[in-house]
Amino acid sequence: MWIYGGYAGKFLRLDLTNKKHSTVQLTKEVARQFLGGNGFGVKILYDELKPGIDPLGPENKVVFAAGPIQGTMVPTAGRSGVFTKSPLTGYFFDSYAGGCFGPEMKYAGWDGIIVEGQSKTPVYVTVFDDKVEFKDASHLWGKNTFETQEILRKDLKEPNAQIACIGPAGEKLVRFACTIWGARAAGRGGSGAVLGSKKFKALVVRGTQDVEVPNIEEFQRVITDQIERIKANPGTGKALPSLGTPGVTTTQNQLGILGTRNWQTEVFEEVEKISGEAMRAKMVVRDRGCMACPIYCTKLSYVKAGPYAGTFDEGPEYETIFAYGSNCGVASLEMIAKADRMSDEYGLDTISTGAVISFAMECYEKGILSKEEVDGLDLRFGNETALLQLLEKIAKREGVGDLLAEGAARAAKKIGRGAEKYAVTIKGLENAGHSPRGLKGYSLGMITSTRGGSHQDGRPTGERIGKVDRKTLEGKPEYAIGTQRLTTIQDSMCVCRMTEGIYGLIDITNEHMNIINVVTGMGLKLPEIVDIADRIWNLERAFNCREGHRREHDVQAIRFMTEPIPEGPSKGMYCPPEELEMLKDKYYELRGWDKKTGIPTKETLSRLGLTEAIRDLYK
C-alpha cells in the first residue's frame, strides 16, 4: 500500500510531441489537500497551464484522473474524470463517466494520466501496467468510437482492455466533442476536440495490480451496509433500476420544467411518447450497471421496427431525451435512440449537440437563418430527418455544421441578427435539461459554477424532490454552496450523482467522510473535507479569474433572464437579473469572494493554502 490506501501513488505523463513518457510521484500533501479526481485535475492544470493559451493548441493538456476509491467495491466507484481547458468556455473543465476505465487505470498502477504536447500524425498509447508505448493511429483516424475500440482490442489481443477514445467529431475539432470509453461519455466541455487537436485517438489501459485499503474487514462492513441501504432506498433500489434517468421525464413535465423547443416553453404536449415508461415498454432489452455499482440504472435499447429499426443504443439517458426530444420538438423515442447512437459513434456531447440543433431550429423558424443558410434543410421543430442530417453535418463540420460545431454561443455571435437571445448557454456551455427558471437554487449554483451551463454543480435534485422549496429565494446562496461542496467532493472521490439519496443530497456528510477514511485511512474530519472542497472550488475559480473571468460573467442565459415560463405549473417563473445580483452578493460574501470582481479574496485563498493563486491574482 502507498502512504494512504486507495491510491496508486503516481501519475503517468505522456509527451505527444516527443513520444516520451515519465512518472510523476503523487505527494502526501497533494493527496490530503486535493483528494483525487476533480482535485487532481485542477491542481495539475492550474500549475502547468499558462493563462491565455489556445485550448486547441499544443500547450493545452488533458488529464485523465481517478480518485482513491476507483478499483475498490465502493458503490459507483466505476467513475472517473477528464480535465482540460475547455474549447467551449475557455475555462477549467471537468467531465466524468462511469463504466470501467478509471478502475482499470488504477489496476495499471496510475492515479491519472497527463496528456500533453501535440503529435504531427495520429497516435494512440497503450499502458499495460508500467509498459507504455506510443503507436501509429493512422488506420484509426476517421473510425468511429466503437470501431476504434473493437479494432484495438482485436489487434492488441486484449479483449478486456479499457479504451478511452475520440470519434470523427473530435478529429474535426467540434468544440463539444467528447471522450468515450465503452459506451460511456465524458460528455461535456469538448475534451474530445482537445484530444483531436493533439491527434490523440485513443488511450488503452490494462492493469494487473491491486488497489489496497488499510483494513479490509472494516471496509467490507461499511460497503455491505451501503449496498443494503442502496437496495432498500426507493430511489436507488426501485426507481432508477426500473426506468433509469428517463423516469424523470414525465415528472419534469408535470412540474412544468421540461425544456421544450429551445426552452420557448417548459411543457411538452407529447411527453408521454418520450417517457421512461414508454421507453421501457418499447425498447429496453437489458439493464446494466457500471463497475462496482448495484443500481443498474443504464438501459440498453433496441429499436425493433420503423425507420430506425436495428438501432442499438446504451441509453438514451434523460438528458439526451430532453436534448433531442422535447427541446427539439421530437416525440419519437426511436429517433432519439438513433441520434444518441450516432452521437456516441461520432463522439459528440448529446446535450450540447441537441442544444445547438434546437438553437438552429428556432433561428430558422424565426427567419434569422434562411433555408439557404442551413443547406436547404427544413429545420422546423420536430423534423426528425432534418435533425439527424444536421447532427451528421455538425460531426463532419460540413456546410452549416461547420458554423454550429463552434457551439451555440459562438454561432450566435457570428450569425448576429438577434440570434444571441436564442443561444441558451452559460459561460459558453449549452444548458443541460433542468430549468433554471423553475429551480431558483439550481440557477444560482449554475451561474456561479466553474463549468457554466452544466447540471453538475448547481444541482436540481434537492428542489425537484421537495427537500428545498424551488420557488423561493430564502437560503438559496447557502443551498448553492452546499450542493457545490457536495459535487466537488463527489467528483474528487469520483462517485456517481446517483448516490445523492444515500450519501447526502445537499451537503457533504459523514457518509462521504466514512468512505474516504475507510479507503484511505487518512482519518479526515468533516470540516477538513469541507476545506478540501473549498480549496478545489476556489482553485477552479482562480483558474478562471486568471483567464479574465469576473462577476459579470456569472449570468444566466438571456432567455431565462428576460422571458418568464409562458404556461403550465411553473408559469411566470424566471430569473430577473436584479434577483440574480442580489443572490450573488450573498453567495460571494459566504464564499469569501470580492463582491465587486467575483475574485476570491486574499484571505480566502490564504486560508486554503492557495498561495499560487494569490501570486497570480494579486500581482
Partner: protein
Amino acid sequence: MGKVKVKLFAHLRQAAGVKEVDIEIDEGETINDLIGKLTRRFGKDFEDRIRDPLTGSLAPFLIMVGREEISSVKGNLNHKLRDGDTVSLLEPVGGGW
C-alpha cells in the same frame, strides 16, 4: 364522501399498472390517509417505491394537489383533500446525471 383523481408517474405508475386512479375519500381525509389507501390498494411493491423498508420513512418526493406542491418530507401531509382534487405523486428521484 367524495373522490380524488390520483395521477401516477414513472416507476409508481409501473407498480400500480395505471396512469391514474379515482380514490374515494371521506370528509376531512388527508394526504397521509390517501397514501395509506394507495399502498393498501397497490400492495408492497408500490409501498417500497415510496417508503424505505429499512427506515420506514417516506422517500423525499413532491405531491401536487392541483398546482400546489407539497413535500413528502417537509410539507404538511395532513393537508385536507377535497372532493374533485387532482393529486399527482412524482418520482422520488431528482434527475440530473
